[in-house]
Amino acid sequence: MTRDVVITGMGVVLPKTRSLDALWHHVGTPGPHVERLSSRIAGSRIDESAIAEALPPRLSRKLDAFTRYALIATQSAIEDAALALDGIDRERCGAFVGNCFGGWRFTERELRHLHGIGPRAVSPFQATSWFPAAPQGQITIVHGLKGFSKTYMADRMSSLVSVASAASLIRRGQLDVAIAGGAESTNTDFVRAALERIAAANGEPDPAESGFQVSEGAVFLVLEDAGHARARGARVYAGLRSFAMRNAPSRPDQYAVDPRVLEGTMRRVLGNLKADIVLPDASGLARVDACEQAALDTVCPGVPALRPKGAYGHAFGAEGALDVVFASLMLHRQQRLPTVPSGDDGADLSSARSGTARDARQAIERILINACAMGGGAGSLLLTKES
């Protein structure tokens, strides 16, 4: 059984962004959008006060920030899809989450309690708040989903993998509907310290002076079997056509710098097709981005490469899903994202050089998304316009 998979709903929780219109507007607004988050890391962070009322306090206090973001974004996606969960078979609806760091906001606070006061001062919810599958558990509990569900940790590829895996299960007929995306909370001393080491291991000993910028938040999509979506008259943003990933030998703390890895995944998903736009991984690490650019020059020469993530910084576990949202909006609206030129805040990688006014007017049929992971992982996902 092979079925077509479409995106019918999208929800975002990002710095200064709670809606799809706000997202579109944000990336087109001249910055600077990023700030210095620590002495060595730049990026953007979510203002918690802006979402303080979004969840019941009894639930909220049990959760790390990344799970709160996930629940809010999931609710937005379900509402955007106009999906009545009571009307679907919840045994055939699952949750798929990408995450990289887990719940360090909660953990950091409780470690301070442990060492400053003692074991009895540690919240009992530490046990359930920290682990990367917490958003998956909460999404399935809150919405009563009983279908196959899974959490993926694959560094910056995490939510590209979660979306692709959900699509694969729908395509094979195991699910009709999936809530898929990613969540990340990076606004902690521990995570920033880890990111400094990652940047240094990949050639950027002073990341604040490089393009390596960090964001956080959650992005979730409602994926459906195309027939299921048609039957309920759902609006369709885009179709999920194909996904490929592979791995090249690389140190655990380093990204691959062999362009053939991404060339392989891009060729695999494109086949004989040509992408109209590429959303690159765009890590902000110069030597890693140079590798990706070399792969793009080989496989997608002259194709505009947009880098809207420059308006936020890289959201790691949520980034792949965010790129899927950017692509879906462009395919649905038939408009290029209004990214501001590089040099303002770096929101555009190469469209200024490879994109033209004619490109901007052309129909957008296919968008290719890339993502990479430490240890040599690389993935590509192809989205298509749906009529």
Binding site: P56, R58, R61, R120, A121, S123, P124, F125, A127, T128
Partner: protein
Amino acid sequence: MTTSQERIETVVIDAIATSLSADPATINADTQLEDDLGVDSTELIGIIVEIEKALSISLKGLDYAKLKTPADLVAVITKVVRVEEPVA
């Protein structure tokens, strides 16, 4: 240190209300923690820790399965604190 029965009852109700973000007026001695309030095992640990902090006592070694109501909590607390004799 001695503590009045009334204070223990107030501390228990307040700890439950605080932990569940609930109105203390909706909770009484016989409210069923699980059936009426939906308290799960992790929340119960949090409630007990709140009580320990408020009364400066240790409640280690409790049989949590037997703690069904605020009255059950008050009963186990009175076994580990000296309760003031009521004024005649």
